[in-house]
């Protein structure tokens, strides 16, 4: 371990925070966990010399060397599976998939292998694997590179799926994932990497898995969101506050396990819910939320549950079409107004 790594481990002043980007917060989590536990190693395309396609792992190769920060060929099925196998022998691999679109070619390893190990082998072997990958759209990357499959994974027993919305949670949840004994998918997001916020410097800042957060308190309506949709929801809530509408934002943080207790408490209080996600809503995270909310809050609902997501088309290239298809702030605000019976 290098001298700088040791310094990074020095306990920060209690409660000290520093404003940084989501990307930097992830890097801090990786760096601290690499320094804390020899079993932790990073693996993925361009994570080393190139410093990550989105620069999350910048500087880590120099600090920890090529065994701990391992470049792979373009072979997602191969190296995700290698992560599964290494985890089965007690290593703590953190596999980066450049974007969630490329995780499709490794689906067999994620769904049919990693997620099955605990139950299928009767609890005799565990798979403490972390896969981290960004989803999202908005940079004219077009149909094959602009998707969000959060619901596919969150609907799979055996996996845990986290989707932090703030830099502080990015650090705390990634660390929780690395320390967890089960396979965990950490879903990041392309536009969110540059978002800034205060991040606790404490290397023991670990956010518990399975706890949602009330990101903003309000009384008229609840927006349930995760990842970048939470960033959008907070902007919209601020904007609507100026119109006298009080929006509560529940940030899920964890999709599986899902904190329905916090969601239900909020919706029971406000009586109205709008669920938003970056992906297609059909059969998605918002579909699951709507089903659970109607059961948990049936007597408290004053309006049908509304959902906002990506328009159900393969995302087009043209900027105006892309913008129109995305769950943008205008569409979210419109859904909130409609649910409140306000003029659009």
């Amino acid at each position: 371990m290098s001298a700088t790594a040791k310094q990074a481990e020095a306990p920060a002043a209690a409660g000290a925070t520093e404003v940084m980007t989501y990307r930097e917060a992830l890097r801090m989590a990786l760096r601290e966990e690499l320094a804390r536990d020899e079993r932790v190693f990073l693996m993925g395309e361009e994570v080393g010399t190139f410093e990550g396609a989105y620069k999350v792992s910048a500087g880590l190769l120099d600090e920890f060397g090529p065994d701990r920060v391992r470049d792979t060929p373009i072979a997602e099925e191969g190296f995700v599976g290698a992560g599964v196998g290494a985890a089965m022998l007690g290593e703590r691999p953190v596999v980066e998939i450049m974007t969630i679109n490329f995780l499709l070619v490794a689906m067999d390893q994620v769904i049919n292998h990693a997620a099955k190990i605990g139950a299928m082998f009767g609890g005799q072997v565990r798979c403490p694997l972390v896969i981290r990958t960004p989803n999202g759209a908005g940079n004219q990357l077009t149909a094959q590179h602009s998707q969000s499959f959060d619901g596919w994974f969150a609907g799979t027993p055996g996996l845990k799926v986290l989707a932090p919305a703030t830099p502080a949670d990015a650090k705390g949840l990634l660390k929780a994932a690395i320390r967890d004994d089960d396979p965990v998918l950490v879903i990041e997001n392309l536009p969110i990497y540059k978002e800034k916020g205060p991040v606790p410097l404490d290397p023991e800042h670990v956010v518990p898995i399975g706890l949602a957060a009330v990101a903003r308190e309000g009384s008229d309506l609840t927006v349930v969101s995760h990842s970048y949709a939470t960033v959008r929801a907070l902007h919209v809530a601020e904007q609507l506050a100026g119109e006298g509408v009080s929006v509560e934002v529940v940030d899920l943080r964890s999709l599986r396990p899902l904190d329905m207790e916090t969601v239900a408490a909020s919706v029971s209080k406000t009586g109205r819910a709008v669920c938003v996600e970056e992906g297609w809503p059909s059969y998605g995270v918002t579909a699951e939320l709507a089903a659970r909310i109607q059961k948990a809050c049936f007597d408290d609902l004053d309006a049908p549950i509304e959902r906002v997501g990506m328009a159900e088309v393969p995302l087009p290239y043209a900027k105006n079409l892309e913008l129109a298809a995305m769950p943008n702030e205008e569409r979210l605000a419109g859904a909130i107004r409609a649910t409140l019976g306000l003029a659009a």
Binding site: F41, T72, P73, A75, E77, G78, F79, V80, G81, A82, G83, V84, G85, A86, A87, M88, L89, G90, E91, D108, Q109, N112, H113, G118, A119, M120, F121, G122, G123, Q124, V125, R126, P128, P157, G158, K160, D180, D181, D182, P208, G210, L211, A212, S254, R256, P257, L258, D259, M260, E261, T262, V263, A264, A291, R292, I293, Q294, K295, A296, C297
Partner: protein, 360 residues
């Protein structure tokens, strides 16, 4: 049967008469087990898929014999023989096939997902070639942990046409991982002969694409299977040289019990292979070692008794408890993480308990 590379076997890998007899006992145990498994399947005491390996005993026992205690074994789904060869008690394997609590996977895995972590057997896996990336990662872990061991990864001849084969071999060669990919070539992937599935029907030659050593050996010759397996595993352990070992063999039964195995091959072809049965070959060798027919018959009788005992054990083993439906799925401590998932559940399910101890 042509060996691509044939070096004289080091004396240490040759087996003596006592060891040959012991390995023969294991081969007979597997044959009797598989015969009984088919009978129990047809009596509806075993469900799901049930892939038998009768005919492949020399390849199976020979390769596993070359493993050291701390080496790691991974297989596909035709796994009964490998589990038994590795020393998993037939009682635990039969109970698993019966779906009982005392099965080696506590009734969660069945025929395709046998394992025994204590014996370094990290699973039978059910998706063709899916075990290759996993096995490659196990080998990476051995390197990272500085353990001087190797992984033996079994696959069928059908698996070499999957992308996972290519990605795994490339990674293993690139990273110099201690792993031997053991291709059990029984001539058919389900009902498709190798020549109709692989553009290069000499499968070991494909290793050359990765500058990896590959060779083909008569897998029905116990000594040859042991020699090649031991040599390649040693190179993996000592020099981190991955390799492909193709053992040529034949399965007498269909792809699974549900397949009569006659739609794609003739009775004459099967009879031809039966005439060269690996058990008969070892029996002949043992006679040469001075083992009498009475002693050989006694070995058969002992195996029959042991498998009958395994059936009794499996029959008497309790069914898994329904209140342990989710046991083992998640690590200890996960119940707390999932505690808030229930409100509004569309399913009205009882809370799933992950932590219920199933035992090791």
């Amino acid at each position: 049967m042509s060996a691509a590379v044939s070096a004289p076997p080091p004396a240490t890998d040759a087996i003596d008469a006592a060891m040959r007899r012991e390995l023969y006992e294991r081969m007979v145990l597997i044959r009797v087990f598989e015969t009984e498994a088919e009978r129990q399947y047809k009596a509806a005491r075993i469900g799901g898929y049930c892939h038998l390996s009768s005919g492949q005993e020399a390849a199976t026992v020979g390769a596993v014999h070359a493993l050291q205690t701390d080496d790691v074994l991974v297989t596909g789904y035709r796994s009964h023989g490998f589990a038994l060869a590795r020393g998993v008690p037939p009682e635990a394997v039969m109970a698993e096939l019966f779906g009982r609590a005392d099965g080696c996977a506590h009734g969660r895995g069945g025929s395709m997902h046998l394992l025994d972590v204590g014996r370094g057997y990290y699973g039978g896996w059910g998706i063709v070639a899916g075990q290759l990336p996993v096995a490659t990662g196990l080998a990476l872990a051995l390197v990272r942990q500085g353990r001087p061991q190797a992984v033996l990864c079994e696959l069928g001849d059908g698996a070499v046409n999957m992308g996972a084969w290519h990605e795994s071999l490339n990674l293993a060669a690139l990273w110099k991982l201690p792993i031997v990919y053991l291709v059990i070539n029984n001539e058919y992937g389900m009902g498709t002969p190798v020549g109709r599935a692989s553009a290069e029907p000499e499968l070991y030659r494909r290793a050359a694409s990765y500058r990896m050593h590959g060779e083909r050996v008569d897998g029905d010759d116990l000594d040859a299977a042991i020699e090649a397996s031991a040599r390649l595993l040693r190179a993996a352990r000592e020099q981190r040289q991955p390799a492909v070992l193709e053992l040529m063999t034949y399965r007498y039964r269909g792809h699974s019990v549900a397949d009569a195995g006659l739609a794609y091959r003739t009775k004459e072809e099967i009879a031809e292979h039966l005439a060269r049965d690996p058990l008969v070959r070892v029996r002949t060798q043992l006679r040469g070692d001075g083992v009498t027919d009475e002693q050989l018959d006694a070995i058969d009788a002992t195996a029959e008794q042991r498998i009958a005992a395994a059936v009794s054990f499996a029959t008497e083993s309790p069914e898994p408890r329904v209140d342990q439906l989710a046991a083992g799925m998640h690590a200890a401590g996960s119940a707390e993480q999932f505690a808030r998932m229930r409100p509004g559940s569309a399913y009205g399910e009882e809370p799933l308990t992950f932590d219920a101890g199933l035992g090791a």
